[in-house]
């Protein structure tokens, strides 16, 4: 049977919240050449049983939500990143060297339960 989409705003459900960290706000624009900042997105929101059957959620989340429905002592499934991407930083260090550094899994692209 089709699971009814929960009423009310989806805002409370698990989704990606966007947050941009500007290096200028940190005073880092004096030594970071590029980029101007980076996306410090985060995942937050509820994972009710109904959500675990469609959104990019894992099978495990489905089972945990089912168990939570049966026994509330089992915690709900949680909202976590399901797709991450890297960032590269081009900056100058204290010895006038220009440095290009890559950091993996720094930006949250997608969230799921």
């Amino acid at each position: 049977a089709a699971i009814p989409v929960p009423k009310g705003s989806c805002r409370s459900l698990c989704h990606r919240h966007q947050l941009f960290i500007s290096f200028r706000d940190l005073g880092w624009h004096k030594w970071v050449i590029a980029p101007k900042g980076f996306m410090a997105n985060y995942c937050h929101g509820d994972c009710p049983f109904s959500m675990t059957t469609y959104l990019n959620s894992s099978n495990y989340a489905f089972m945990q939500a089912l168990m939570h429905a049966v026994d509330p002592n089992v915690p709900k499934a949680v909202c976590i990143p399901t797709k991450l991407s890297p960032i590269s930083m081009l900056y100058q260090d204290n010895d006038e060297n220009v440095v290009l550094r890559h950091y993996e899994d720094m930006v949250v692209d997608e969230c799921g339960c």
């Binding site: 004096k30 030594w31 980029p35 204290n94 060297n97 290009l100 950091y103």
Partner: protein, 232 residues
Amino acid sequence: QTSRFQEYDLLQFLDLERAPSPHRFQPVPPVLRKIFQAREAAAAGGASQDLCYVKELGVRGNLLRLFPDHGFFLNTQEPSRDGPCLQKFLYFNLSAVKEKGKLTMARLTLDLGPRSYYHLRPEVVVSLFVVEERGVWGRPHPKPGRMLALQSVPGPQGPVHFNLQGVLKDWNGSGRKNLGLYLEILAKGDRYSGVNVQVENTCDRLMRSLHASLLVVTLNPEHCHPSSRKRR
């Protein structure tokens, strides 16, 4: 106070002891700018990319550093008729290379000035030697040690690259914090030009436009899993 504390944490996370406070910005080397822009474009397109492989250089690595030369010319007087027209001591402060990690590239680039085709310049011969650090750097004339390269560069010129990975591997093990090289450039005159006018022009131009830099690429195993299979 809180933001100060968090900034410290973020710097630590980025493997930086403290926020650099450079007095002046170095020009961004074209090779790093090109790699950065390619990465940004790939990220914007959502393409998954292996950040631990630098395809533009064909080596693995997740940290690229370009060290400017802090050396000095040894011959400022007019180049002698048949001696080298340029002798330079190249000096790279490598103390910033602290992190554990595997050295995957050390490339010295000598930019011999803009390529120009309006007149072919004489061939130049580039000789490169290691200068042992101990005790000679203070002297005006550091004694060249082992020869690293002898390369003939036909005009017109442009950047010339030398692979110094072997030299830096030794250096890495020795705990030394800087690298000294001795550079000599000879311009082969045009036999028919009589007073070697071309050689003098070439020498003057090289003295004005020579620019040396050292590109070092390291791979940090903690940040780069051995070329990971595609995630299931």
